[in-house]
């Protein structure tokens, strides 16, 4: 897996600079070079094979069901790119060693750079499209870090975010496109995808896929109208720009265009979309570049323009155009990287990038000037330089294209126009910076040549421009051939890389571009004035405003939905329940089922009426809180009676006990809460609530009626049949609670214990105003002398305890049980608190209720675990009848031990809640209305 190694090396290598960041800048930079150097060596090992036209595929299955395999591909195209990425990467590292200031954390820089390098290598070397996607997104992320490297600068942060947002969005579209592609092909391996090219283009989803993939490509390659992020990415340190915007990041887009060319190209749709985007980008970029006063801005737009050119070439969709495109990729990488570096040197030495201030630098840094001029000439397409060659091929190909019918001449015209501006801005770069009089007010004056080794990378690149331009056959031809061949995935037609093709139309176009370009440049003053008068559209501002608007809109939507109103949320919940339940209920053939109704008796009717009226009264009087509390108690009593009426004594017992504890709680709460509810909701709101309430009522009523009139076949018979033999108790409800479904009860007492400790936690630190008067403003009675109550409460306690024991013991066979017994004990103790006060009671009854509640749960749990000893599951009960002399037969069941746990938990939890709540105002008096 040498290919994987090439990709992984920089990833590992990204740690080296971090490790050596304090060991000197040179060492740090050297360490950063380790990975690319090894990578280049590894790449070189495969060079022979690649140049022999072989495609090297190394694959290891990973998530094969997903189609995601670790497979890498090395062919001409990926070889070319891998070479550029690592080669130019090395130069950038060398350059950055001198570029970065002492204050810039160099280790971090090289770390990010290598992360990015790894991602780029991954993109170009992936055989699996999903794997490619992985690296694709990694380039977005790592470039985000690189662009935002000078994070203290607002421009850098915003530029980074913009780049990430745009390329990220494109990446998502690309992901969608690739997924669809993979689904159509049935594989994500490029080999399979190439083989299925025809199938893809015939598929109904081809337009969708093409658009999605192109969205990814265009955003990454800064094609119009997604080009706006690129100039703002110039906030990055110049080495980053030199790397990302010449050879790598933006080239990832055109790389993908080239990579998927065999699969996607060859249709009209491809031509129209790709070539028009390319043409538009070419022109917009070239025009705008001329008007940039920022040196890097000019280069940025020029980059856009050249990317447009490459895209246009791919769009022209001839195999020679593809060759030209690949060739221009190489050329652009070399001259643009060197130009960025030169710009960086100038920026470094003068302290500014404003071309209106930088003038006549030829005098100060002749060496750099020469290098920059050569590179700029290459950019302009001056003969004898590499740019000229590919541009000639470009012009040739535009002339070959007749897709537009009678309007086909527009393509070469546009190309020439692009050439014109390209010449003009190149000229501006040269003239405006190195000639054009004297510098104006430079921050650093006088500028010097940069350190020796900072210039080396530029020199190397410029030499390459020259070498390719002068002797393409010796230098680049082989590489170009294999790269282009693997791009079109086919044998290439004859083409010539000669400098001289004779006097032909392309040459004329070049000539025209040259002449007109000079003319345009000479007319720059009125043009600049004209441009300055144009409404200044700063893409960053527009983008930021758009994002701001998006965020604001998002905020509005969010606030609209989540207005922090419980009523709204409850309404949603209730409406949801009404809708979904109503939907099904309405499908019932008849609400009333087949079971005959039982007759109504007068007593039940009276009880029901009483209960309903009290409920209505509770709602009606809810603003008078104490009154509604009284009517609520009547409802509770009605429920108790209903339980009794329908043969559920245990429930009646439980309900009545819980009832009183709840009332005590409500009274305690009412002390601190306002006694009356203000009238707040409008009539409309009340009407709406009433309708919702009635609907909910109707729903529950309908459900109940439908269910009650239908037969059912219950598991209950089992409990009735097994209660005595299996559970040892005659009270089936209790046996269910402590045995058949003891696990529920276990959970239930835990809930109670949790509620108690939660309430304890909630009361801790609670500060409440203690009202000194009731709702009518009447002060409370003086220290209550509740003589009768105090005496009675003391008498009742032993009685109540005895009743508790009674209820507890008989629970298994008769109504009762630990829970009810616990509540009775608790209520008896609460009565002590009510009668004699918290302090008095706590002093005499210093029980740790935490402990009691915990012990209850522990006992119940331990009873359950006890059955393990006998090899039975948790909570398996056991009981036996024992004969004791004199006493007679008694029954002992482990379930009773469990019930004891229940009892203790109930007592502990209930008192933990009430006693602490009662303690509240004494310890935390803050202020009263006395």
């Amino acid at each position: 897996m040498t290919l994987a190694l090439i990709v992984i090396l920089p990833l590992l290598g990204s740690l080296l600079p971090l490790l050596f960041k304090n060991q000197g800048r040179s060492l740090c930079a050297t360490m950063a070079m380790v990975a690319p150097v090894i990578g280049l060596a590894l790449l070189w090992r495969h060079a022979d094979a690649v140049f022999a036209g072989q495609t090297l595929i190394q694959s290891r299955p990973w998530l094969s069901e997903l189609g995601l395999n670790i497979s890498f591909r090395l062919d001409g195209l990926s070889f070319l790119f891998a070479l550029m990425i690592q080669g130019i990467g090395l130069l950038v590292i060398l350059y950055a060693r001198y570029y970065l200031s002492k204050n810039d954390p160099m280790g971090r820089f090289f770390c990010y750079l290598q992360l990015f390098m790894s991602a780029m290598l991954g993109v170009v070397l992936s055989e699996n499209l999903l794997l490619l996607m992985v690296f694709w997104e990694m380039t977005s992320l790592s470039s985000f870090l690189l662009i935002g490297y000078w994070s203290h600068s607002t421009d850098a942060r915003k530029g980074a975010r913009m780049a990430l947002a745009v390329t990220g969005a494109g990446g998502l579209a690309l992901l969608a496109g690739i997924l669809l592609l993979g689904q159509i092909v049935g594989s994500y391996e490029l080999t399979d995808v190439f083989a299925a090219g025809e199938q893809i283009r015939q598929h109904a989803l081809y337009p969708v896929i093409l658009v999605l993939v192109l969205l990814g490509v265009f955003t990454k390659s800064a094609q119009f109208p997604f080009h706006f992020w690129l100039p703002h990415a110039m906030a990055a340190p110049t080495p980053v720009s030199a790397y990302l915007h010449s050879a790598t990041m933006v080239k990832a887009g055109v790389f993908l265009l080239a990579r998927l060319y065999p699969a996607l190209a060859g249709t009209d749709l491809w031509f129209y979309i790709v070539s028009s985007a390319g043409m538009a980008t070419l022109l917009v970029g070239a025009c705008t570049a001329l008007f940039q006063h920022d040196l890097k801005g000019l280069l940025a737009y020029s980059t856009i323009s050249h990317l447009g050119l490459i895209t246009l070439l791919f769009g022209l969709d001839t195999r020679l155009a593809a060759v030209a495109a690949v060739f221009h990729i190489i050329n652009h990488a070399t001259f643009k990287a060197s130009l960025f570096m030169a710009a960086g040197i100038i920026d470094h030495e003068t302290g500014t990038r404003d071309m209106r201030r930088i003038n006549g630098l030829l005098r100060f840094m002749p060496h750099t000037a020469v290098l920059a001029m050569v590179a700029a000439s290459a950019m302009a397409g001056v003969p004898l330089l590499n740019g000229f060659l590919s541009k000639e091929m470009f012009f040739t190909e535009t002339l070959e294209q007749h897709m537009l019918g009678n309007w086909s001449w527009l393509i070469p015209l546009g190309a020439t126009l692009g050439g014109v501006f390209s010449v003009a801005y190149s000229l501006r770069f040269v003239h405006d910076v190195f000639f054009n009089g004297k510098p104006v007010n430079l921050p650093k004056y006088p500028p010097h040549e940069p350190p020796r080794y900072m210039r080396v990378p530029v020199e190397i690149l410029v030499v390459m421009c020259l070498a390719v331009g002068l002797a393409p056959g010796f230098t680049v031809a082989g590489l170009l051939a294999v790269a282009a061949e693997s791009t079109v995935s086919n044998a290439l037609p004859e083409y010539s890389l000669a400098i001289w093709h004779g006097f032909n139309l392309p040459l004329f176009m070049s000539f025209a571009a040259m002449v007109l370009g000079i003319l345009v440049y000479s007319l720059r003053r009125p043009l600049f004035d004209w441009y300055a008068r144009q409404r200044d559209v700063d893409a960053k501002l527009v983008f930021e405003a758009a994002v701001q608007r998006l965020v604001r809109g998002a905020g509005q939507i969010t606030l609209l939905l989540e207005n922090a109103s419980l009523q709204r949320y409850l309404l949603c919940l209730l409406l949801a329940a009404l809708v979904v339940t109503g939907f099904w209920l309405l499908q019932l053939p008849a609400l009333r089922g087949p079971v005959a109704l039982t007759p109504i008796d007068g007593v039940t009717l009276a009880g029901a009426v009483l209960t309903m009226l009290s409920a209505v009264a509770t709602a009606y009087w809810h603003r008078l809180r104490l009154v509604s509390l009284v009517t609520l108690s009547v409802v509770g009593l009605g429920v108790v009676l209903a339980f009794a009426r329908f043969a559920a004594p245990d429930l009646a017992l439980t309900q009545i006990s819980v009832e009183v504890v709840t009332i005590v709680l409500l009274m305690l709460a009412l002390f601190f809460l306002p006694a009356r509810t203000p009238r707040e909701s409008s009539g409309l709101r009340r009407g709406r609530d009433l309708i919702i309430a009635l609907l909910c009522g109707a729903l529950v009523g309908a459900l109940a009626f439908a269910m009650l009139t239908r037969p059912y076949d219950s598991i209950a018979d089992f409990f009735l049949a097994n209660s005595v033999t299996g559970g040892g108790g005659h009270n089936v409800v209790n046996v269910i609670l402590v045995d058949f479904r003891g696990f529920d009860t276990m959970g239930e007492i835990t809930v109670l214990a949790i509620a108690a400790i939660a309430i304890y936690a909630l009361i801790d630190g609670l500060r409440l105003r203690v009202p000194g008067a009731d709702s009518l403003g009447k002060p409370w009675a003086q220290r209550g002398d509740l003589l009768m109550l105090v005496n009675l409460s003391h008498v009742l306690l032993p009685l109540a305890l005895m009743i508790s024991v009674y209820i507890f013991l008989r629970g298994h066979n008769l109504p009762g049980g630990g829970f009810i017994a616990g509540l009775i004990t608790a209520v008896a103790l609460i009565l002590q608190y009510v009668a004699s006060g918290e302090a008095w009671t706590a002093q005499r009854w210093p029980v740790n209720y935490h402990w009691l509640a915990g012990a209850g749960v522990l006992i119940a749990g331990a009873t359950g675990v006890g059955s393990w000893a006998f090899g039975y599951p948790f909570l398996t009960s056991s009981f036996g009848h024992f004969h004791i002399p004199l006493v007679g037969e008694i029954e002992l069941a482990t379930a009773m031990l469990f019930d004891l746990g229940v009892y203790l938990t109930v007592v502990g939890a209930t008192l933990l809640i009430l006693a602490n709540l009662g303690k509240l105002p004494q310890s935390r008096v803050v202020g009263g209305d006395f």
Binding site: K778, L792, V795, L796
Partner: protein, 112 residues
Amino acid sequence: MSDASWVEWLVAALLLIGSVFALVGAIGLFKLPDFFMRLHGPTKASTLGVGALVLGSMVYFSAQSGSISLHELLITFFLFLTAPVSANMLAKAAMHEKLRREPRTRGEPWEQ
């Protein structure tokens, strides 16, 4: 219980007495003019009413099971214990709230 024994008559009488007393208590509660007067109805009549009912129930279940069932007495005992205290608490509350009294009431309650 097809043929009415004396036990049955006793039970029936006790039940009727009890129910009627309970009703009287309720009537008192309903019709008497002020709170303090209404207080009398439930404290006594209803308490006794339930007492008689309980007694009836006790006799019935004792006769039915053949052994004396006395535990119902606890309810009566309990009501007799608590009714005065409830009345006391309510009266105190009423005095605290300075509830309207029937004008012809003689004597004054005191401030709470």
